[in-house]
């Protein structure tokens, strides 16, 4: 196996281009460890991104919070700009695995792995976040996080996830996560809700569901139930019911589809009540 530690993004993109499907990108490495264990081709390359400082920054502009894909969950938990502009990201980062995983797990990895129960993705979707997708020789293209995680795989072989952009705006947000046990756990179902208020009325709303569909998805019916309304328990209940209808859960070892759908209703209702 060949090993590279590119210093710049362009260098990494060239390597990705050269090795194609034989390239393995190392960021936090929590998923890569599993992929490598299944065996790799002798001519595979491991491309460690750790030297690329641009990918590890958190910055804000007047309109946006920019988060590099190498930013770890631990950093999201603690960074002052995240706390200020996107507190739900800090909340969800704190519920990602446990301290050991938070030290290494990156926001980019959380997006690219596209797990239907990913911890950070619901907050990103609720925040209408998008991200740069980079590839050698091309201009960066921008895609919403919801679109990125809906694809399998999330990125093509020669693509690299760039910075993530979270629009800055006054908002109310909340997060509900139900798990089988309370520590070291992915969500059975989680719900992230973000609303922009116009006075007492919800001007815009985003509801994101994890564990409720093949990928983390928006509950557009629930959003419609919220937009234009004044927040109340009736509205919350309606949003919950609509979210349950939006959900498309699976039955697996951890819970039945029916139970997951019931959870979507309850958790969405609770998340709205908490706004």
């Amino acid at each position: 196996m060949q090993y590279y530690e590119p210093n710049f993004i362009d260098e990494a993109l060239v390597l990705l281009d050269r090795f194609g499907t034989n390239a393995h990108v190392l960021a936090g490495g929590t998923r890569l460890r599993f992929a490598l264990r299944r065996g790799v081709a002798a001519d595979a390359a491991l491309i460690n991104l750790k030297r690329i400082a641009d990918l590890g920054r958190i910055e804000d502009t007047a309109s946006d919070l920019w988060i590099g894909p190498l930013v770890t969950a631990a950093a999201l938990r603690r960074h002052v700009l995240v706390g200020k502009h996107a507190p739900l990201l800090a909340t969800t980062a704190a519920s990602l695995g446990a301290a050991q995983l938070q030290t290494v797990a990156t926001i980019g990895g959380n997006i690219v792995s596209a797990d239907p129960a990913a911890d950070l993705v619901p907050a990103l979707i609720a925040y209408s976040a998008d991200a740069e997708i980079l590839s050698a020789g091309d201009c960066a293209r921008i895609a919403t996080v919801e679109d990125i995680v809906s694809k399998r795989p999330a990125l093509q072989g020669r693509e690299l996830l760039g910075r993530i952009r979270v629009p800055i705006a006054p908002h109310r947000a909340s997060y509900q996560k139900m798990t089988t046990r309370r520590g070291l756990e992915m969500a059975l179902v989680s719900v992230a809700v973000s609303c922009r208020m116009g006075g007492a009325v919800v001007a815009d709303a985003r509801v994101a569901l994890a564990g409720a569909a093949p990928s983390v998805v928006r509950a557009r019916g629930a959003e419609r139930a919220l937009i234009g309304s004044r927040l109340s328990s009736e509205v919350a209940q309606a949003a919950g019911e609509r979210a349950a209808a939006d959900a498309d859960p699976l039955t697996d070892a951890r819970a039945s589809a029916a139970y997951r759908r019931a959870l979507v209703a309850t958790l969405t209702q609770r998340a709205v009540m908490e706004l």
Binding site: G39, R181, E185, A253, Y259, A262
Partner: protein, 821 residues
């Protein structure tokens, strides 16, 4: 009479008032204790027994200095990996190892044909082979073993071994195993199905018992299979020397059984094999029998002449299993209007997995201890264990008694409610009496069951709360009992179950050699305390050499909650003999009779005049000068306890421990989420040797029960274990585990070492039904299967209210309940 003797709550104190500083800052748990009664050979009172104190081995544990089996590296060693079946049930047509053998770095590969010897931990079911000869019976069944210069090469080589299978229909459930149209896992011409063992026992007049009952309760229960999940993955290092001697360092709770079976399988004299049990990183019953990887490593070390290490991956640990059997029950209980039990008929079906393991014993255990907790005048038990194409089940903490306890205590609450009885008073009223014999011939001696129920319910104000809390909050009680070691060894013999050698050094140190295995349960500290108590030295003066078949006398192993009672008694026997020698020579010096010599605080003194004394070192030297080297042997053989019927060998024990647990829970009525807020557990340990250890065992048992009650599952799909990893197989984390209050109840067992009984397994048993009963109290509905998941909570509430309100908008059908109701 008993009530007058009821002890008051106190913390453990030093009854001797001895000024010698204890080595601990640990607070003792609360201990309910009668006025201490000292055994005749301890007239000076206790100075070590009953104290809190750190585990002797904790100093090297917190520094990472101990070498567990996987921490052993030897020069020129090889790494082994096992190739495991990808099929649940198949004939092996061909195994081609040539490509793997050609891989540089691969040193040897063996398959089942190389070691065609059948073995089994129970002599009655020798149905295992180190590697499959012609048939694989579960996904994970070993087929071949590769050794290579490094682990990676061994792994690569596995992928190059070609196995051609002829798939057979897989038997994946109890129902399928009872069918006659599926292939047998183990050919048995006397049957047409996959039943491994059937037991039918009847005691007293069962028919008359039910006829005389005012009410009869019949329920069905299902207890889900669970696994031990010790954090240490099984590991072994095997070395075969030029002297043709084989040494095995194995993560095992039973070095003696590994020794025996290794000799048989390898065809070597046992005298040429040495088994060493280094510290074990958690066992819980999961490391109590010889495993394929241990025998394969031994075989390959002999074949290659190089040391071989095999450490299982976590996935393989799930396959090695030998965990809790999934069991389905039918439970029929007849009672008088006042709740007095007139008869019980218990039927159990055990899903045994692919091999026998301890399963014959497990089958008996699902029925044997029904009678040692409450008075049952007539009892019928039908047990049936089946083979299925899953990892083999075996003993897990509570071995076979945990599952029926869930059913029995669940139904007992139901009976109490139906008859309008207070569930705690009811249990006390029907509790067995000390010094009685059960209908199935089990001898009960010391019994603190009523005291345990009182202690746990009073501490939690159970009677004020049960049935009176707001919906969504609940409190539940359950009681149980467990063995202090099986009365009979697993292979018939007339020799002791445990032996010990105690050697007194002229420098004042004392060494005990004991064949036990230290898997965290605290056997080392227990042995040191018993010897220190007997000889009046500090536990830190005692060096415990354990688990080494060359050095230590046989102890059958750290299972069956037998170590304190049996190894403790053997060590006490040996130490008492040393004490006797030292006392005699000291008595001569004091000019008094040997009965007047006391031992405490590293001093030996005249009990009549404590001023007349000498240091323990002086006394030891005096004794050595008088008698020669002071090294004494001790043994423990349980009294003959088995009754005269076939199957009576499982259930008898020299003593039974008793426990009562109270769980307090909050249930989220919308999500079904259960929060266990506290568990209070009172345990009759006879007498606690080391309060810290006993408390730790209680808390650990509560913890393990909590996981089984709420989250642990054992699911299969398409013949394969669905979740052989520690993320999906849920074990409770620090955020899941509630505060646990341990209350130690002492009854002073006449045959236990200094009155002690067990604490390792018993405290787990009542936890699961206590949580179930608490959830039932909270949601006004009963759940008859484990684990009690949020989803089942919602379903039970819906069923109880006759609606499907909560899930009514749902169009997708929910998965069928595994409850065989």
């Amino acid at each position: 009479m008993r009530e007058q003797e009821l002890p008051s709550v106190s913390t453990a104190t030093n009854p001797d008032g001895d000024a010698r500083p204890l080595t601990s800052a640990v607070e003792a748990s609360s201990v309910l204790r009668r006025a201490p009664q000292y055994p005749p050979d301890k007239p000076e009172g206790f100075s070590v027994v009953g104290k809190a104190g750190p585990k002797l081995d904790s100093f090297t544990r917190v520094t990472g200095q101990d070498r567990f089996a996987d921490d052993i590296f030897l020069p020129n060693m090889l790494f082994g990996k096992m190739l495991r079946s990808t099929q649940a049930h198949a004939r092996i047509l061909r195994i081609d190892t040539s490509k793997a053998l050609a891989l540089p770095g691969v040193v040897a590969i063996v398959t089942g044909a190389d070691i065609p010897v059948r073995y089994g931990i129970l002599p009655s079911s020798p149905d295992e082979m180190v590697m499959a000869l012609d048939t694989v019976r579960y996904v994970g069944d070993p087929i071949a073993c590769v050794v290579a210069d490094d682990e990676l090469t061994a792994e690569e080589a596995l992928a190059l071994v070609q196995v051609e299978y002829e798939p057979l229909p897989a038997v994946m459930s109890i129902d399928e195993a009872l069918r006659t149209d599926l292939p047998q896992l183990h050919p048995n011409p006397r049957r047409t199905n996959n039943i491994h063992k059937e037991v039918h026992l009847e005691f007293g007049d069962v028919e008359a018992g039910f006829a005389s009952a005012d009410r009869i309760f019949e329920d069905e229960y299902f207890f889900e299979g669970t696994t031990h999940a010790p954090i240490e993955q099984h590991a072994v290092m095997a070395q075969y020397g030029a002297d043709q001697k084989l040494t095995l360092w194995a993560a095992t709770q039973t070095p003696h059984y590994l020794h025996r079976i290794a000799a048989a399988v390898l065809g070597m004299p046992a005298s040429q094999i040495r088994v060493i049990a280094p510290p074990v990183g958690g066992g819980f019953g999961g490391k109590t029998e010889p495993f394929a990887h241990e025998l394969a490593a031994a075989f390959l070390a002999r074949k290659t002449g190089r040391p071989v290490k095999i450490t299982l991956t976590r996935q393989e640990v799930f396959y090695a299993h030998r965990g809790r059997h999934p069991v389905r029950f039918k439970l029929k209980t007849g009672v008088k209007a006042d709740g007095t039990i007139t008869a019980i008929h218990l039927q159990s079906w055990l899903d045994g997995g692919a091999y026998g393991s301890y399963g014959v014993a497990t089958t008996y255990y699902t029925g044997a201890l029904t009678t040692v907790t409450y008075k049952v005048p007539a009892y019928k038990f039908d047990g049936c264990r089946v083979f299925t194409n899953k990892p083999p089940c075996g003993p897990k903490r509570g071995h076979g008694t945990t599952q029926p306890r869930f059913a029995l205590e669940n139904q007992l609450d139901k009976i109490a409610d139906a008859l309008g009885l207070d569930a705690a008073e009811y249990r006390k009223r029907i509790a067995v009496d000390p010094n009685s014999t059960t209908v199935n011939g089990l001898r009960v001696t010391s019994c603190g069951l009523r005291e345990c129920i009182d202690a746990a319910t009073e501490r939690t104000r159970y009677k004020e709360k049960r049935g009176k809390l707001a919906r969504g909050r609940g409190i539940g009680l359950a009681a149980s009992s467990y063995l202090c070691g099986a009365g009979l060894p697993i292979y018939w013999n007339a020799m002791p179950q445990s032996g010990a050698i105690v050697k007194v050094d002229r420098g004042g140190g004392v060494t005990v050699l004991s064949g036990t295995s230290e898997c965290g349960q605290g056997s080392t500290s227990m042995l040191a305390a018993i010897i220190a108590e007997t000889l009046g030295v500090d536990p830190s003066d005692v060096s415990v050499c354990y688990g080494d078949t060359d050095l230590t006398p046989v102890d059958l192993g750290s299972y069956s909650s037998r170590v304190t009672f049996m190894a403790g008694n053997a060590a006490r026997d040996a130490a008492s003999k040393a004490r006797h020698l030292i006392a005699q020579s000291a008595a001569e010096r004091f000019g008094v009779g040997p009965d007047r010599v006391g031992f405490a605080g590293r001093r030996v003194f005249d009990l009549g005049n404590r001023e007349r004394s000498m240091t323990f070192i002086e006394a030891a030297q005096l004794a050595e000068a008088r008698w020669g080297t002071i090294a004494c042997v001790g043994s423990y053989t349980p009294p003959k306890l088995a009754a005269e019927y076939k199957g009576s060998g499982v259930g008898p024990s020299p003593a039974y421990s008793y426990s009562a647990a109270v769980a307090e829970v909050a249930v989220d009525l919308e999500t079904g989420e259960i929060t266990v807020e506290k568990i209070t557990l009172a345990h009759d340990v006879g007498r606690c040797i080391n309060a810290t250890n006993v408390e730790g065992q209680i808390e650990g048992g509560v913890y393990m029960g909590l996981g089984e009650a709420l989250m642990e599952e054992w699911p299969f799909r398409a013949g394969e274990h669905k979740i052989p990893n520690l993320l999906d197989y849920k074990t409770p984390t620090s955020l899941d585990t509630p505060p646990i209050e341990a209350i130690i109840v002492e009854t002073d067992d006449k045959e236990g070492p200094f009155g002690a009984k067990e604490a390792g397994q018993g405290p787990l048993n009542p936890v699961i039904p206590a949580i179930a009963n608490a959830v039932a109290d909270a949601i006004r509905a009963r759940i008859h299967s484990t684990p009690i998941t949020p989803e089942k909570v919602l379903k039970a509430m819906d069923a109880a209210s006759g609606t499907t309100l909560r899930l009514k908008k749902v169009t997708t059908p929910s998965k069928p309940s595994p409850v065989p109701v």
